[in-house]
Symmetry: C2
Subunit: 222 residues, 2 copies
DNA sequence: GTCTATACTGGGATAGAC
DNA sequence: GTCTATCCCAGTATAGAC
């Protein structure tokens, strides 16, 4: 195999190793050498491919965007987040993206947070990641629907809820205690809520709130 | 002034300086020397009072608990989180605590997050900080009220929403762009939502969801 | 108790051989 | 391109004078 291919292979190995390390140790705790040794490469080789850890993270983000772009092209009919099925669908999609890209998503979260409260990085991330929600909420508003508040704020609140639970609950190992039904006490003492339960709960909470659907009936009636 | 008083004074200065630095730079970015120089003390003096930055943070937490303990002794009549006034009251109290102790609260947040996803620290924090919500939700459940899901999960979701928005939105400077009415673009590019707006929005969202109160009428009718 | 000065360490980044 | 070896700095923590 030629040089170019070898280089690409090394870069891929570094990326893969980084994802594993980020998931296990967290982005902030992961050292460059952790990545290189996990990838079976020399420390110096890292800089042949990435300028820094942050640079690597951006590369992973680009990869993720490339893959997951088609997931979110919801160009269906008029959206209505107050439709139980549609809201659930949106939340499930968001949750799935977080699950599928947990290392990157959580690393971005850690990175934004490490920038400090005054930097506004977290707010940028929060609003940036919730443009879909925000736009759909604006649609609702324009159709005369009364929202709980400013679409930007409501969308950010929803996103904050999601990211926080994703960071705290999603299992570190890609597919281990996730879709199981038993809340296993392993994995750092965190409970292993099944994906469906989390999504159902959030959908119900965000749609009808703590008061419940009232006269309208349950969330998933049929 | 005697030695003991001088020592206490230095310790207080270090604590105060730490709070300022945590707010400005973020907990993770704050170095020991940042604190000592901000306090006008020598670097070495720090260790006379605290074993580490983490130790200092715990001391600040203890101080905070001492002050804010009376805020949360809500021993009134039977609680009902589905009562608009009570829910709003609870959220307002939580928001106020975050505002009053922003440096400490956000530092704890950063600290828990830096421990990495696998540590479960964030989940512990999330559940620990929402015991009040959780208990009240359990009360509701025992009274036959149907909740959106497991009380622990719902409480954590509420708490996640709150902490995230608190971290992202609360102003760095104790009282500057907070209760103003104009969303100033200063302060790191973050909007300055008035406290009341945030609390109202969250109360409305959490009580009736995106669908709104329906037949029940608005959240604050009178 | 507080200071100044310094030892020590982890980890980022580079130099140069292969 | 990848390796080994090393430099170098930031930051923690300590030693010892005052």
């Amino acid at each position: 195999m030629e040089r170019k291919a070898r280089a690409a292979q090394t870069e891929a190995a570094l990326k893969a190793a980084a994802q594993r390390q980020f998931a296990e140790r967290g982005y902030l705790n992961t050292k460059i050498t952790d990545i290189t040794t996990a990838a079976g490469r020399a420390a110096g080789s890292f800089y042949q491919h990435f300028a820094s850890k942050e640079d690597l993270l951006q590369a992973l983000l680009a990869d993720m965007h490339g893959q997951a772009s088609q997931v979110f092209d919801d160009d269906g009919p008029a959206h209505d987040l107050t439709d139980p099925a549609q809201l659930r669908q949106h939340l499930a999609a968001a949750w799935q993206v977080m699950r599928d890209n947990r290392p990157v998503v959580t690393a971005l979260f850690e990175s934004a947070l490490a920038a400090g409260p005054a930097s506004g990085e977290l707010w940028k991330r929060l609003t940036g990641d919730t443009v879909v929600f925000r736009d759909h909420l604006r649609d609702l508003q324009e159709q005369g629907h009364a929202l709980p508040g400013d679409p930007v704020l409501v969308a950010a609140a929803m996103g904050g809820m999601l990211s926080m639970l994703g960071y705290a609950l999603l299992p570190v190992t890609p597919g281990a205690p996730g879709p199981t039904d038993a809340p296993s006490a392993a994995d750092g003492g965190r409970p292993g809520y099944p994906d469906a339960q989390v999504v159902d709960t959030l959908a119900s909470l965000l749609l009808y709130g703590l008061a419940g659907p009232g006269e309208r009936g349950a969330v998933s009636p049929g």
